[in-house]
């Protein structure tokens, strides 16, 4: 049975309690109670996310830290209750049919959440048992996954001593153990070396070829570009752009981005830059910076430099980016993904 993912106007507001360290040093039973009339601090994590991921698609949520990617995955995987809105896996409402949904999904959380009381092989075997696999199926699948993720030589060791990369690989293997229809990967390549990242990409593509839906989050544009059929760019809990990587990249005016820094701010110079051939958009960024969107890159630098010198303004720095998702994010938010 193929299953897609659908969300309708998902909202999530956290009423985050004060941090433990800021408390009185005592402890409390149950939920922390508000003292007096102090309003609880509210953090809006999701501000109306509507998405539709087709069965068999690799879909990516791209955004900086704190954009709402993990909360979206949390809501879709029965771990974070939305404040409002609906989420569906296949035909099942995530918050009305949790058990049916859990049968369909495999989840790799952002932080390794392995069962530290067990060995790698036991983690896979018990996970299989929770999903009702027979003893024979469990050992066969565990063996195959350990081999695929290059963990066979450490299979019978406690995972407490594993490196971050090994834990991450085992987390992904565990999520695949019960052969879920929909696989959620929350920043799967964080902490992986380039070689292992390529192995992971290969495994993700392979898994997708068997008809499985994959939703992954990342703040790595290269990863989104390499893996996803479609992606949504998320910032401050909202979808700010949605489409195939190619469509999204072509939506940036010109595609190329020249980030310039001048010795001083000159509105007159900005107007002249706009008139250069191939320049689509000029935006003043912070301080003396200027972002220039254009359909050519390096060949513009000489023109920019001569315009600057004619205006008596020193050109201090030039950075050219080719068409990329990073440029797209910057164009929509005015901020870099890495900020």
């Amino acid at each position: 049975m193929l299953a897609g993912i659908r969300t309708r106007d998902l909202r999530k507001t956290y009423n985050s309690p004060p941090p433990v360290a800021a408390g009185t040093g005592g402890f409390s039973f149950g939920a922390p109670k508000g003292k007096g009339k102090q309003p609880k601090p509210e953090v809006v994590a999701l501000d109306g996310i509507s998405l539709e991921v087709s069965p068999g698609e690799i879909f990516c949520l791209l955004g900086p830290n704190g954009a709402g990617k993990s909360t979206t995955v949390g809501v879709l995987t029965t771990r974070v209750r939305p404040t409002s809105g609906q989420a569906f896996i296949g035909e099942h409402d995530v918050w009305k049919e949790q058990v049916a949904v859990k049968r369909l999904i495999g989840v790799v959380a952002q932080r390794p959440n392995l069962d530290f009381s067990l060995t790698a092989r036991e983690i896979l075997a018990f996970h299989g048992a929770y999903f009702g696999l027979t003893s024979h199926e469990r050992s066969k699948r565990a063996e195959a996954l350990l081999d695929r993720f290059k963990l066979t030589d450490r299979a019978d060791q406690m995972v407490r001593g594993f490196s971050g990369g090994m834990m991450q690989r085992l987390s992904i293997a565990r999520a695949m153990m019960h052969d879920p229809q929909v696989l959620f990967l929350d920043e799967p390549s964080a902490g992986l070396d380039p070689q292992t990242r390529l192995l992971l990409w290969e495994i993700v593509r392979e898994y997708n070829q068997s008809g499985k839906t994959i939703l992954l989050t990342t703040h790595n544009m290269e990863e989104a570009d390499a893996l996803c059929k479609r992606l949504a760019i998320i910032d401050h809990g909202r979808v700010i752009a949605l489409g195939t990587p190619r469509e999204l990249k072509s939506s940036v005016p010109g595609g190329f981005l020249l980030r310039l820094r001048f010795g001083q701010h000159s509105p007159d110079l900005l107007d002249r830059l706009k008139a250069l051939s191939g320049v689509r958009e000029v935006r003043a960024s912070d301080g003396d910076g200027t972002d220039l969107y254009a359909d050519r890159g390096g060949s513009l630098v000489a023109d920019v430099a001569s315009l600057a010198s004619a205006a008596g303004v020193e050109l201090c720095d030039v950075h050219i980016s080719e068409p990329s998702l990073e440029n797209l994010f910057l164009h929509h938010t005015g901020r870099s993904l890495r900020e």
Partner: protein, 256 residues
Amino acid sequence: MNWKAFFAMLARDAHVARRNFVALLFQTFLQPLMFVFIFGRVMVGSGYMPPSYKSLLLPGIMAICMVGTGIWAVAMPLIAEFQFTREIEDRLLAPMEISWLAIEKVVAGTLQALAAGFMVIPAAWLLLRPGVDLNVPHPILFALVALLVALFSATGGLALGCSMQQTHIGLMFSLIVAPMIFFGCTYYPWSALEKFPVLQKAVLVNPLVYASEGLRATMIPQFPHLPLYAVLAGLIFFNALLLATGLRNFRGKAIT
């Protein structure tokens, strides 16, 4: 209800307990048995305590071992697994209603508490003999009380484990578990508090009182003890209260 997942989780807990068996053994029995030796053997042998104290002590020690084991077996893993590593998540994501995971923890804790209780009887008896006057006229009643005591230890572990942060484990033992043991009529019968009427009433809010008095009522009925109906009512009430609190807090911790 997905019994396959439920039993797989019980098997996982049994597997982990087996792996830590020797450490668990020392942790559960060393301190109570040292207490048995000093108070039941040395103090009685040297005449500072009456010989009947041996019989009075044994049910109390059994209650301490059971409650300590159940609380430890349920609360400590829960506190650790709900920390930022969220180790419990692979079980929360299993295709089973999440409250059943809490119930599975209670079942596992109850079984461990029962095992501890039934293992400490022969050990303490060997240390104390001769002079222990055990007398179990109603084995089924005794088994029922032991089961309720074990259940209380596990539901207490669930309620504590889902209410505490890891940084408060020390406080949990010094502010909750230790006073509960000392004011839980474990080392003395409830009737010994007659000269302290206020305290005698106040300790009735301590569920361990019903546990130790219940074991006393069914193992050494010849000594004074709380009436059995009060014991059963107290244990059932606290089991229900702790289970409800534990389940509510468990759900609160499992889903943000």
